[in-house]
Subunit: 567 residues, 2 copies
């Protein structure tokens, strides 16, 4: 079965659980932020995803992209679907009106991409990279570059790539060797080899705009020596630039997206932003990019859940315990299956609350009239984004594997499409910063350097909405307190024990993720009807099967504190 | 890199940690059980696996098996390697001398298959199925059937299958519809369709012996109506039997093993054992078969660890915390990577202790002169085997995924072979009884029915070797006590709350697995040099990163007890 976005669920979370309209009321900059239009956009998006993009998913995996003599052919139907997508204006949803965009909320783009990824992760990689390139160019590009490229990227008529990794430089971009040599006319000649370039070459658009990390002559070694250059596949005068795709990788999954090894041979390029500030030009959009990946995780897990749930409601095997029906019973009646389904549902629903709220905070951080609210929103984005990226990509893979288990042997064969979700989702734990790097980013780069003050303030933001007379909320209040106290301990020893935070960063991230998810479920509990099984069963699953990990993680960290910092 | 069995590690665990020779001394039936011969067999096995089987693994995945007009072609080199394998006598290692076997310990066969699976899971599926068929026929076959088939199966000259599943009958074999109709000459005509038949058709041997679950006329519905029939591909007179392979499945992995949809059209077959006792004929070998799968998990995890460990010792990215070397450092110096590697190593080493001990217990249960020791061994096998099957196949998949993470983006592409391990290993969580069924088997079918007495006795067996003056052993003693007390509570409520054990069976199995692994690590601790990082680092990883889950599982079960059985 193909993925079908549950638009009503998204609207419930956005407008009832999170009161997006209320939160955005002060944001005068977003004139079109009226709820009716937003609901209508979501309904239309759901339709497009279900009718145009989802049906291409299985063939995209089976046939994949083909490489021949430097050219890449995408799977059947991909190019036509992409043309419909950009012509209908979807890429420009949240782009600014002055660049031809519709200026709508970031969160609507977020929801759209969650659904697209769920429906067809491979296809979605191509337009998914537009938004970073758009932001990067809009903020740091010269007027000439903007005039030549920005509208085409905003509309999606031209696609874009981020050319960062090299064979020896993955997580450590400071090792990048690609060179950019200045030319008399102000342009550069870019030379070097890049790997793992999603959409580096394809047949979806007439031009592809590469943003390439490279080193100018005499640049210092390491990350500070890196500059960002715009290198188009086709030059303004119609000539082909010296940019070549040498191969596409054979991957575990994501066969619908060509992962290209690119070669730049004195290709013409133009500097984006200042020399030596290449990483800064990219890192301004890091939170949005990571949130996109978190939403991919949520979407893929929802896709896996939809398949497993449907199968469990039609497959019969054995008598369920306590059943009085004639056997065999539907497998959805078996507790082991029920538990798998409710647990994944719980991650998806709670994840949506967190990711959509983070999407709102992205706009609040930019557009809110009050300084203090902007600062608060920026803090939320900085601290919560790496947590969502790591926790929901991990859950996408592990949860999809659980959903595969629902199918028994049928899950392992291609026919049902569930094993594709497992394979496709695996990459999300790696790209846009591996999950290990997200954990270090959270604890070592963000929580510890300000003595835990930012994290403590985030926990206060969560606590503010919790009513201790309500049992689940009271448990979350106690958990916030435990996390705050543990954070203080870590701050206290980190300077003298520099290795310690690196050992426990993953546990710390999980603990924060579980508290955030707990907060999300108290929010759903406040908004949903207490008798509605749709929300109550995954809420119970959170408390019974997911949250117990929180205590385990704190104890693992505590043990390291005791061992490595003897009194 | 290809897998290389660490024969010295296996010998250390078998002869020093477990004192296999001492344990087997009373087993007069196993004349050849002398340690020098056993060590020599292991050295030769390691050589064969590394030189003949491992090099075919990557191509086996990429090219896979091909199906054309009813015939299956295995990947290049597979048939030649299989011929060398059986001609060298490896399949018959533990078969009885009267059937042409060498009569060696079961555990040596176990170690051999652990390594074979690690080296080339797809190839190993074909001979892996021999052993069950051999046992089944040796125990339940008529003299005529044995005379015609047993020696050829023991030697591996002919391969065998188990034809159980049908499209609508997977975990629930009681739904099997294939029919066997008696013929005047005492044979049967077998008709029906089977799916997921590993090695149902191939080019490795001249004949294939199918053991088929089917229903005789007037058999009652459900599992008691099932009989087992031997249906050869080629009849004694050289004619082709009416057995057809209709297709092979496209799978997530294990491409080197053809998973066949088989059709029997009035095929000639002969009854194995009594009518209506088909499941019993098969279930006598269930513990050995499940232990084989547990060993596949251990082997695959070791293969993933070998790849990741080698990569981490040659890849450099970023400065490691506290490092004073010139960056970039080897990634093995980064705590997040170190932790992944040590944790998987800990599962593999501890798993070997448990699986090899279980292998010894299989022989002890058959051959020990004392009744009480045989009973004890049988109890160990019954209770420990489902735990190892579930825990180590789950760890194979999740741990291989962790090892993939060590490679960053390179892990997701085919080149390094690590993603193949993730894909191949996934099936082990499903076949030979899904892991959910293993958990129900343990708690609902074995622990609860005798009021927890068997489990309590098993815990006493574990406790006996633990010295409470040693801290890790003392922790295991306390954990055994907690598990015993929880088991009593479950026994106390199970009758009145029939659904409850099914909700928590998975947690219970994990708790038992963690106590067993803890016991294994105390055994390694007793035998290894306390200064030897080879054993100390994974031992620490067990205590720091693996065992904390034990407490979490007990608390999850306790919570269900509290919720579902209000006082």
């Amino acid at each position: 079965m193909d993925y079908r976005p549950a638009s009503q669920d998204a609207q419930f979370i956005l407008f009832e659980v999170l009161d997006a309209s209320g939160q955005l009321l002060p944001l005068k900059g977003l004139a079109e932020a009226d709820p009716d239009l937003q609901r209508q956009v979501l309904e239309e998006a759901a339709k497009f995803v279900a009718e145009v993009v989802a049906p291409l998913n299985a063939a995209g995996d089976h046939l994949g992209c083909r490489f021949e003599a430097g050219a890449v052919t995408t799977p059947p139907g991909f190019a036509q679907a992409y043309k419909s997508f950009w012509e209908a204006g979807w890429p420009a949803l949240s782009c600014r009106p002055e660049h031809g965009g519709q200026g709508l909320l970031w969160v609507l783009e977020g929801v759209l991409y969650e659904w697209l990824s769920a429906a067809n992760h491979g296809w979605t990689m191509a337009p998914g990279l537009l938004h970073g390139a758009y932001e990067c160019l809009a903020r740091s590009g010269s007027d000439e570059l903007k005039a030549a490229y920005l509208d085409k990227i905003a509309s999606g008529e031209w696609l874009a790539t981020m050319c960062l990794s090299e064979a020896h430089a993955g997580s450590d971009l400071g090792l990048v060797r690609t060179r950019a040599t200045p030319q008399p006319d102000g342009s550069f000649h870019v030379s070097g080899s890049k790997i793992f370039i999603s959409g580096g070459e394809h047949d979806l658009t007439d031009n592809i705009v590469h943003l390439v990390l490279a080193r100018l002559p005499d640049a210092p070694p390491g990350p500070k020596g890196l500059s960002l250059l715009l290198v188009p596949k086709v030059l303004a005068d119609g000539r082909r630039n010296e940019v070549y795709c040498d191969r596409i990788e054979e991957k575990m999954g994501l066969h619908g997206s060509p992962t290209c090894a690119m070669r730049f041979d004195d290709a013409a390029g133009w500097l984006v932003g200042e020399p030596g500030r290449g990483l800064n030009a990219m890192f301004v959009m890091m939170n949005a990019a990571r949130l996109h990946v978190a939403l991919q995780g949520i979407g893929l897990l929802d896709a896996a859940w939809q398949k497993a749930d449907a199968y469990a409601r039609e497959r019969r095997q054995m008598r369920a315990p306590g059943s009085r029906d004639a056997p065999p019973d539907l497998i959805v009646q078996h507790p082991a299956i029920r538990r798998i389904l409710d647990t994944q549902r719980s991650w998806v629903d709670g994840g949506r609350v967190l990711a959509y709220q983070t999407g709102l905070e992205l706009d609040i951080a930019k557009h809110h009239p009050e300084d203090s609210r902007r600062v608060q929103a920026q803090r939320w984005c900085e601290l919560v984004t790496p947590v969502l990226k790591a926790a929901f990509t991990e859950q996408a893979f592990h949860g999809a594997s659980e959903c595969l288990q629902v199918f028994g042997g049928h899950g392992y064969i291609r026919e049902w499409g569930i094993e594709q979700v497992v394979r496709d989702s695996r990459v999300t734990m790696i790209y846009e910063g591996t999950n290990e790097i997200q954990a270090i980013d959270l604890l070592v780069r963000k929580v510890l350097p300000d003595g835990g003050r930012g994290m403590s303030a985030l926990l206060e933001d969560l606590e503010r909405g919790l009513d201790k007379s309500n049992a689940p909320a009271a448990e979350m209040l106690a958990s916030c307190a435990r996390l705050r106290s543990l954070t203080s301990k870590l701050v206290g020893v980190a300077e003298a024990h520099v290795e310690l935070p690196f050992w426990v960063a993953g546990d710390y991230l999980r603990a924060v993720a579980l508290v955030l998810l707990g907060w999300a479920w108290t929010r759903i509990g406040d908004a949903a009807n207490a008798q509605d099984a749709r929300w109550q069963e995954p809420g119970d699953a959170f408390r019974h099967w997911i949250f117990p990990e929180f205590k385990m993680r704190l104890e693992m960290i505590d043990k390291q504190l005791t061992l490595k910092t003897p009194q």
